[in-house]
């Protein structure tokens, strides 16, 4: 039990770290770290055997190695300024992340869960991940950070599904992983196109698309 608690605390810290870093490369590494931590959660909950093991290996391969590699590759090919450009400051973003954490803790006390479904702290950690990811999407200027934000939010959703996967819906989780994999692929292609069309991946320039 202690192992899963330590994992979840680490995940919360990683979530807040997303909002504080200033280099795109560091952001990519944090994604990898979160992927590895996520890969460990099925093992911590269900033990190192059977479906849990398969899921864990798949997550490690896709979220721990695949996505960060794809993002890093896109980053190096786009040749953009390697600094994260925020719409509003890092302190404010961090404050928003902490707000998300508090909101998640409050929400856990209000939502009626089946007893014993979630280990303590799992729900707030997952929800904080979603909020941090969305904050990243909202508060950062580059489309690449939006992809990473989307990945962080998806990681939160995945974390919510892990206890359910232990009860037998592991194939569902795997198929969702496949979907996300395709989505990230598409996003990489879309980023290239955006860079070519707007000569930048600044989402502020999308304004010219409005009618």
């Amino acid at each position: 039990m202690a192992a899963i608690q330590s994992l979840l605390v680490a995940l919360v810290v990683v979530n807040l770290a997303y909002l504080a870093v200033t280099r795109l490369k560091t952001l990519t590494r944090i994604t990898a770290l979160q992927g590895v931590l996520l890969a460990a959660t099925p093992l911590a909950i269900a033990g190192p055997h059977g479906h849990g093991l398969i899921l864990s290996l798949a997550v490690l391969a896709i979220k721990g190695i695949g996505f960060p590699w794809l993002v890093a590759r896109t980053l190096s090919r786009l040749e953009v300024n390697p600094v994260v450009e925020p719409y509003f400051g890092f302190n404010m973003s961090l404050l928003a992340g902490v707000g998300g954490l508090l909101f998640s803790l409050w929400l856990e006390s209000r939502l009626p869960f089946p007893p014993g479904l979630f280990p303590p702290l799992l729900f707030p950690a997952a929800l904080t991940s979603i909020f941090s990811g969305l904050t990243l999407v909202v508060a950062r200027r580059k489309a690449l950070t939006q992809v990473i934000g989307y990945l962080a939010a998806e990681n939160g959703i995945f974390l919510l599904g892990v206890p359910l996967a232990a009860q037998g819906s592991v194939w569902l989780e795997l198929s969702v992983l496949l979907d996300v994999f395709v989505a990230v692929f598409v996003m990489g292609i879309a980023l290239h196109h955006i860079n070519k069309t707007f000569e930048s991946i600044d989402v502020g320039r999308f304004c010219s698309l409005r009618d």
Binding site: Y87, F103, L107, R110, L111, F131, L134, V137, V138, A139, R140, Q146, V203, G204, F206, C207, S208, L209, R210
Partner: protein, 665 residues
């Protein structure tokens, strides 16, 4: 009921066949064939069942709400009659008008979809009038409201046609929104969807706020009927739509608004007198403003459209008076008012669709429906001219044509209203009588203008001088309608009894005195018929004598309005502007006319031009500013649509957080 179902099946078959053969000449045969077959079967069904019979049928229905309950009663049959008759005539006329014409033009052949929606409109109309369940009624209503948008925009390469179709769509849906609100409120309060159950709930007093329900129903259906100020779509779509579509809309479709109002009144608790006066009041306003606007129009089809507003106003006047009679315990007034209204509805349907078909022939022959471009057409196309003048006289209410019988019956209701207790109702009845007389006079002037300037006199343009008479086949549909109307004139007393069946079935009607009053009206109609026949025989005899005398002595024909001048020209005739100029001086405000006389100074001006421009006040002063304000409001709301994607996601995030916080706190 079986024949009704068969006619629906023919309509649907026609619709599907015209879609299947879209883009080919076959669609122009199969679509109208379905419409004609369906309509004739429907007419046979009406003829073979006694008018007072009530049929019910319930079919399986896949939806969780409502039930597919259909039925036919006297009111349904009465309103179905013009749909079937005009539907058949319009289908024949349309098939002939569209034959080959589209194929000769460049661009895609749209006749397949056109006939699809034509059949769908007919099926929707029939279904509305047979629905015995609120949900079925609303679905049929929606189908019936949408189809004319596609029918009217057949020639949608013209900007004017597109705008007219949109105007229609907006008006139809504003009305439909009120109708839906009416049924939703009533069905929610009653806890049932069937008409019978709704009426039961109303009698038991379970419908709270009956006044609100009344206004929702009245204004919702008034938008379809075309009462002032909801009439703005009529003068827009009728001139824009092809002739046969305008005929079907004016003859078959706008009556459905009256039908809906009739049903709503049957469902609602017994009417109060103020409700009757409200309907009658708006009816008088529509009749007067409609006919004055018609008088001012320079376009033949737009003139006919405003005349529809006038006639719908008269029908609502009769309906309102009937309700007042019902509320005040005067069954004679009730029966005469309702009966006169329904009878006039039938006459208007026949005459107006005949007029539109004639106007379509004029448009085909001359290429314009502007009165300033016509003239002297009776010599070039005598059959169309005769039919137009006949229908114009009928719709203006000249005896012995049936238009007069309906107005006479309504006048009898107003005379009965003079016996109502209290000064106010008596004054109102007398005022209605005066309004009816005034409207009759103006209608005569309007159709003297339409018929006289278009068909009599000398041609104003070379196109009018070279107009060719339509083929004999093209006259088939107008002649069918005219034959129906002449039969109606001959059988007016019987037709009045047919109408009476629907009136007697209205809830709260005391049958014995109502039947006696209607019988009295039928007797009056017969007397009018005898006198009319006598006058026609006399006039015919005199004409024959004159022709014989002329043939014996030899005659010389002079140009009309030649006035003995040496070099008369067509410009000496009254024009569309100069005909209404005297009235425009007096009634420019209510007619919505602006007149301008450009004349060189001096005692003998070389040049003088008179302009009379007619604008629709309701459209210019009410709806245009209203919709512009709505558009400004919508533009103002666009500040949230700034194109910044990440802020859009912020909206989503904020909404989720707020909803969670609100729901869980």
């Amino acid at each position: 009921m079986e024949l009704f179902g068969l006619s629906l099946a023919f309509y649907l078959l026609g619709a599907l066949a015209s879609l299947a053969f879209a883009g080919r000449e076959t669609a122009n045969h199969l679509g109208p064939a379905g419409a004609v077959a369906g309509s004739l079967v429907g007419l046979a069904g009406l003829a073979l069942t006694p008018a007072s019979a009530v049929a019910q049928a319930s079919l399986p229905w896949g939806l969780p709400l409502g039930s597919l309950a259909l039925g036919l009663d006297p009111a349904s049959r009465l309103f179905l009659l013009p749909v079937y008759a005009v539907g058949a005539a319009a289908a024949v006329a349309g098939s002939l008008a569209l034959a080959g014409s589209e194929a000769a033009q460049a661009g895609p052949d749209r006749r397949g979809t056109h006939w699809f929606f034509f059949n769908i409109l007919l099926a929707g109309l029939a279904l509305v009038m047979a629905a015995r369940d609120g949900v079925v009624f609303l679905i049929a209503w929606e189908v019936m409201s949408l189809a004319p948008f596609f029918l009217g925009s057949l020639h949608d390469d013209e900007a004017e046609v597109r705008e007219a179709a949109w105007t229609y769509l907006v008006c139809a849906h504003l009305g439909a929104a009120l109708v839906i609100a009416f049924f939703a409120l009533a069905m929610g309060q009653a806890g049932a969807t069937g008409f019978a159950a709704l009426a039961e709930a109303a009698r038991a007093g379970r419908l709270t706020m009956p006044s609100l329900l009344f206004f929702l129903a009245f204004f919702g259906f008034a938008a379809k009927i075309g009462l002032v100020p909801f009439h703005v779509w009529l003068p827009a779509i009728y001139p824009a739509a092809p002739g046969h579509v305008a005929a079907l809309m004016s003859g078959g479709m706008i009556n459905v608004g009256l039908y809906g109002l009739w049903r709503a009144l049957e469902i609602l608790p017994p009417p109060a007198a103020w409700q009757g006066w409200t309907i009658a009041g708006l009816g008088v306003a529509s009749a007067l403003l409609g006919i004055l606007a018609a008088l001012g129009q320079g376009n033949l089809k737009r003139l006919l459209a405003y005349s529809s507003v006038e006639n719908m106003g008269l029908i609502c006047l009769g309906l309102g008076l009937g309700l007042v009679g019902l509320a005040c315990g005067n069954p004679a007034m009730a029966a005469l008012g309702l009966g006169g209204a329904l009878f006039h509805m039938l006459c208007h349907a026949g005459f107006k669709s005949l007029l539109f078909l004639c106007a379509a022939e004029v448009l085909t022959a001359v290429g314009s429906a502007r009165i300033a471009h016509l003239g002297g057409l009776a010599k070039r196309m005598p059959a169309v001219g005769t039919l137009f003048l006949l229908a114009g006289a009928g719709i203006a209410g000249l005896p012995p044509l049936p238009g007069f019988i309906g107005e006479l019956t309504m006048a009898l209701a107003m005379l009965a209203g003079l016996d109502l207790p209290g000064l106010l109702p008596r004054t109102a009845s007398a005022a209605s009588l005066a309004a009816l007389a005034a409207v009759g006079g103006f209608a005569l002037a309007a159709f003297a203008k339409a018929g006289g300037l278009a068909f009599l006199g000398a041609p104003r343009t070379p196109a009018a001088a070279k107009a060719e008479a339509p083929s004999h086949a093209a006259l088939l549909a107008p002649l069918f309608l005219a034959a129906g109307l002449v039969t109606a004139a001959a059988l007016a007393p019987a037709l009045l009894r047919f109408v009476g069946q629907a009136v007697l079935a209205f809830p709260g009607m005391d049958p014995a005195p109502a039947r006696a009053a209607l019988e009295q009206a039928a007797m009056a109609a017969r007397t009018v018929g005898f006198f009319g026949a006598g006058i026609i025989l006399l006039a015919g005899g005199l004409l024959w004598l004159r022709a014989r005398a002329g043939a014996a002595h030899g005659r010389r024909r002079e140009p009309t309005w030649g006035c003995g001048y040496t070099a008369p020209t067509a410009r000496m005739q009254y024009g569309a502007a100069s005909f209404v100029e005297p009235a425009a001086k007096l009634l420019a405000g209510p007619m919505g006319l602006t007149r301008r006389l450009d004349m060189d100074p001096g005692l003998f001006p070389k040049r003088a031009t008179l302009f009379v421009v007619s604008r629709d006040a309701a459209r210019d002063r009410l709806f245009t500013p209203l919709f512009e304000a709505v558009a400004r409001l919508c533009d103002a709301a666009k500040v949230v649509q700034h194109g910044k994607v990440h802020l859009y996601i912020l909206y989503v995030l904020a909404t989720v957080v707020l909803l969670l916080a609100w729901k869980l706190s």
